[in-house]
């Protein structure tokens, strides 16, 4: 099955929780924890590369998609770079992200842009998610109109971005998620969003936690504090996660005797 088909099968089985990752290591940690999908955000990739998120290029995103998809065998869902809105850009973006190994993408575009993404698919199972942002004091009738137009254009899912839980989340569940496949993102509990009928939840601590953890470790070194060792490198655990056992197995399998064949 293609990765797109794999994602569709998982979506059909229940809500998919896709934790945010930004490199091969964090994707492998998600897989080890038992998740069966992950998500790559523009903010995460931009932060990791030290680039302004508004300036992040498609090639910088696909580079990360390629090594994440190569590291984990489960579906990777990718946010299209900012500013990619018009049909030609969306089409190229979808094709590039799919060929980098993603199972799906989400993009904030018009119904026309969405149709361009759908037409650009190589594998018809590649999942195209139309994102629309809920702005402060947004008029719900306008949000619902956008959702309706995006579904009519063929969106596999609609992602209502900007839900922080509370009454907005309940409203969105009743009026959007319970009428068609809907994604959400944020720190509200995945138990709740699953019960409310969402199909996909982009969740987790992502790069923000890595920043906090590294800052914490650096401050500890600055203080000369040797007691707090939550940054201690668990060498065997990490090398095993990164596939060192397989490396030794492959070396043994393809070992040759250097004294022969000369």
């Amino acid at each position: 099955m293609s990765v797109g088909g794999d994602l569709r099968a998982r979506l059909a089985a229940g809500m998919v929780v896709a934790p945010l990752v930004y490199d091969g290591l964090t994707a492998l940690i998600a897989r080890r924890a038992g998740f069966d999908a992950c998500a790559i955000s523009v903010d995460g990739v931009a932060a990791q590369r030290g680039v302004d998120p508004d300036l992040l290029e498609l090639a910088e995103v696909t580079d990360v998609v390629r090594h994440v998809a190569d590291a984990v065998s489960f579906p990777v869902i990718v946010e299209a770079p900012r500013g990619v809105r018009d049909a030609r850009h969306v089409a190229r973006c979808a094709a590039e992200i799919e060929s980098a190994g993603a199972a799906g993408l989400h993009v904030d575009t018009s119904a026309d842009g969405l149709r361009a993404a759908l037409d650009a698919r190589i594998d018809p199972a590649f999942v195209v998610i139309a994102r629309t942002r809920l702005h402060d004091h947004d008029d719900w009738s306008r949000v619902l109109a956008r959702v309706h137009a995006l579904r009519a254009a063929g969106a596999d899912l609609v992602y209502v971005d900007g839900l922080d839980g509370g009454t907005v989340l309940d409203y969105c569940a009743r009026h959007v998620a319970q009428h068609g496949p809907t994604a959400c993102g944020g720190s509200m509990s995945t138990t709740l969003t699953s019960a409310l009928g969402f199909a996909l939840h982009f969740a987790g601590a992502g790069h923000a936690l890595s920043i906090a953890a590294v800052r914490d470790a650096l401050a500890r070194v600055r203080r000369g504090d040797e007691t707090d060792r939550r940054d201690q490198l668990k060498f065997d655990e990490i090398t095993s996660l990164l596939g060192l056992d397989d490396v030794y197995d492959l070396e043994a399998r393809y070992a040759t005797d250097p004294t022969k064949g000369r």
Partner: protein, 263 residues
């Protein structure tokens, strides 16, 4: 930072005392090192490989490593000491590696005497090239630099051949003109003591890769201490806790709060 200025800054720091360089593997963490008040950063190949989701066994190419050197040097004004593995081949490859690393903005690099493809200094199954070949590669590195790049000669011979060979190799590296030498794979207190007594105290400028308190590393006379696994360990442990919390409770907020990062 401008590469030449960073290299001059690192050389000034080396004249003053121990240079402590936390290990990072992306541009984001390089900025954090600078924000925290350190004067130097270390780009780890182990971490760069982890970023690509693979083990540090020579799978990462020169191109991939270079992309990370470039992104990291562009993100910080600090001098960056960058891992250059084996130089990705023979003396000819080393020549190109040194030019590329220098142009990318590195202040220093280290090149090791392992057989290509290499392995992380703390893994089993390492092999080293003959000493004369290692010295030839080092000479190629020294000849290839043209703008003050600090060249650190690393040996992996400790786990392979023991201290006598390590001492012979590092002395040969220093005689050939290496700015510093670096004995990797120091695991025990005994090995650290031998490193200090047999090499540092004879006047060889030495790099120490380990988590010993930096005041003590300075007292022992080391010129550079790298904390190669610092960011990698912190990220691995925090992200593991967050993924498990998300799986078990439906939210990673408790872990974010624990690290003071709750929005």
């Amino acid at each position: 930072m401008n590469g030449a200025a960073a290299r001059a800054a690192l050389r000034r720091q080396l004249d003053r005392g121990l240079v402590l360089a936390p290990g990072i593997y992306n541009a984001m963490f390089a900025r954090l090192v600078e924000d925290a008040g350190f004067t130097c950063a270390y780009m780890t190949g182990f971490g760069t490989a982890a970023r690509y989701g693979v083990a540090d066994v020579g799978l990462i190419t020169q191109t991939e490593m270079l992309a990370n050197v470039r992104a990291i040097c562009a993100a910080t004004t600090l001098p960056v000491i960058a891992d250059a593995d084996t130089g990705y081949g023979n003396a000819l490859n080393v020549t190109r590696t040194v030019r590329l690393w220098e142009r990318a903005g590195a202040a220093a690099l280290h090149i090791e005497d392992q057989v290509f493809p290499k392995k992380c200094g703390f893994m089993r199954g390492k092999q080293v090239i003959p000493l004369d070949e290692a010295v030839a590669k080092l000479r190629a590195a020294l000849d290839a630099r043209n703008d003050g790049l600090v060249v650190i000669a690393r040996t992996d011979a400790l786990a392979v051949n023991g201290w006598d060979d390590v001492i012979a190799r590092t002395r040969a590296f220093a005689d050939a003109g290496a700015d510093l030498v670096f004995v990797d794979g120091i695991r025990t207190r005994d090995d650290l003591t031998t490193y200090a007594n047999e090499l540092v105290k004879t006047g060889l400028p030495c790099l120490y890769n380990g988590a010993l308190d930096s005041a003590e590393a300075e007292r022992l006379g080391f010129k550079i201490q790298i904390l190669a696994g610092l960011a990698l360990g912190a990220v691995h442990n925090a992200t593991t806790a967050a993924m498990e919390a998300l799986r078990d409770t439906g939210s990673a907020d408790a872990v974010l709060a624990d690290y003071g990062a709750l929005r």
